[in-house]
Amino acid sequence: MTSPTQGLVVAALAALLVRISLTGEYLRFVQPWMRWPLLATGALLALMALRPMLAREDARSRVPRSSWLILLPLVIVFSVAPPPLGAYIAERRAEQVTTPPPAPARIPVAEGGRPLVLSLEEFTWGVAQSDDVMGLKDQVVRLEGFVSSDKAGDWYVTALVLFCCAADVAVVRVRATGAEAPPRDQWVRVEGVWDAGSGTSASVPPTLEVTRVAEIDAPRNPYS
């Protein structure tokens, strides 16, 4: 690899990092706090690539052949435009044994006649509590997530929880009954009542008797 080509390879990676952090695409891959580190890394790499890019074409320094592969992420982002992970991964990982989600920092409690707005993690945590601290029994709750299904033909309101990067997502899902399944991967807002007693053990997801389903736009951050 000649020196200008080395500069170009690094500049291509820099351009990718700057692009995804400016457009918000980075949220498909990593956690929200990574935005500024990615931008800074992109800017720094671009500065470092400047001098070799301006060097003479016959200037060389040895790098292994695998360095060519640094171009691959850029090529993939432009040619495949990888979407956020969704139903495909959720269905493949759904059968793994999972631990109940951690307790929310502030426990939302039902009050009045209005629907209780919960994240899927809060809801699955709440139904697993034997004392029903959230007051979920007979309470209308409102949840958001994307649609996934299983082999039996049931459908689920689903979220993917991201710990570090998209390679380590875990699945949180709630089985929906009483309504026709929306298209797979479609984001939905559902209202319904917990089928009391379901989801109390971590290995079986809770069931929601759905009364309303609305299709919504996918959120900016596709993971929770």
Partner: protein, 322 residues
């Protein structure tokens, strides 16, 4: 330095850089026609995971190569002498303890350990640092404590077993001596490169191997059903080995692997500990980067030894503490 086109005699019309630049331009302009060709769910999921692994690691890798360049240029050998005992056997445990001080993931540790060797640190001590830093740094300790809120012994066990692994492998390296067959790359400083040129060269070198590792890890995370792993949870010994293998092939960040370990509830605590000890010490991404950095002959010995020592130390510590 560059010179204008007039100064370069008979510059060829077609050169490497322009071919690469044209190919990239073609990909960017042609995306409208290429994208429909790749409409396959599993391929797209692989692409998302692969790009995610590379994007997540790049800032840490850049930090690592910059720190490495700074170490090899500015850290005085006198200071290093004062901190590190000259005898490699004594330097190994000190280097292991020093691992508490670098809050980075394993991608940063590879170039930093190479930088330490360039500065004259005994290879065995630098390798101990490489094994210890990603496993026992403060960020990892905190995330492990958060992932195991009711089980503080897991944090202690992880630190003890990881440190034991790093030091034991370090001493093995001292004993092997020159038989390790470590391929040292020619020092880039000799080619008159400045700090930035050295860092960029290191980045290209390690980055390529990082991409290779990320490709393999993304494939495992996309295509291997987690149910295969879970099916071995019942057996004590097989469970330990299954999670050791899983840690090797999944190549998760050491700062997040505790959350994944906590979700493997079907496994024994010792098996989970094995997952936490093996992952930061050795995985598919690190094996690729290390064979790039130190040579294939070295990696062929080093990788299996680290795996065996890590599993043994986790099993032992798990038996005593958990």
């Amino acid at each position: 330095m560059s010179s204008g086109p007039a100064a370069a005699p008979r510059r060829p019309l077609v050169n490497q850089t322009s071919v690469v630049a044209l190919a990239l331009l073609g990909t960017i302009l042609g995306q409208r026609w290429i994208q429909p060709l790749t409409d396959n769910e599993s391929l797209r999921a692989w692409c998302t995971m692969f790009v995610a692994l590379v994007v997540q690691a790049t800032p840490f890798l850049l930090g690592g190569v910059l720190l490495s360049a700074v170490i090899s240029r500015f850290l005085s050998e006198r200071l290093l002498r004062r901190v590190l005992p000259r005898n490699p056997t004594l330097a190994v445990p000190v280097a292991g303890i020093a691992g508490f001080g670098l809050p980075g993931c394993e991608c940063a540790a590879v170039p930093v350990s190479e930088g330490l060797m360039r500065r004259g640190v005994a290879p065995a001590a630098a390798l101990t640092f490489l094994l210890a830093a990603p496993a026992v740094n403060p960020a990892v300790i905190v995330s492990t404590a958060v992932a195991f809120p009711n089980d503080h012994l897991m944090v202690v066990a992880r630190v003890v077993a990881s440190l034991t692994t790093a030091i034991a492998v370090g001493w093995w390296c001292v004993a092997r001596g020159d038989a390790l067959g470590m391929a040292r790359r020619p020092d880039a400083h000799r080619h008159g490169g400045g700090l930035v040129a050295v860092a960029l060269h290191d980045f290209l070198h390690a980055g390529g191997f990082l991409v290779v590792g990320a490709m393999a890890a993304a494939a495992v995370n996309t295509f291997v059903p987690r149910a295969w792993v879970d099916s071995l949870a019942g057996q004590a010994l097989l469970g330990v080995l299954a999670l050791a293998l899983f840690a090797f092939v999944a190549a998760l960040c050491s700062e997040s692997d505790a959350f994944v370990a906590a979700s493997l509830t079907a496994f024994s605590d010792t098996a989970k500990l094995t997952f936490l000890v093996v992952g930061p010490a050795m995985d598919i991404k690190l094996a690729a980067m290390e064979s790039g950095q130190f040579g294939y002959r070295f990696a062929r010995q080093f990788v299996p030894v680290v795996l065996v020592v890590a599993v043994a130390s986790a099993a032992l510590v798990g038996r005593v503490l958990l």
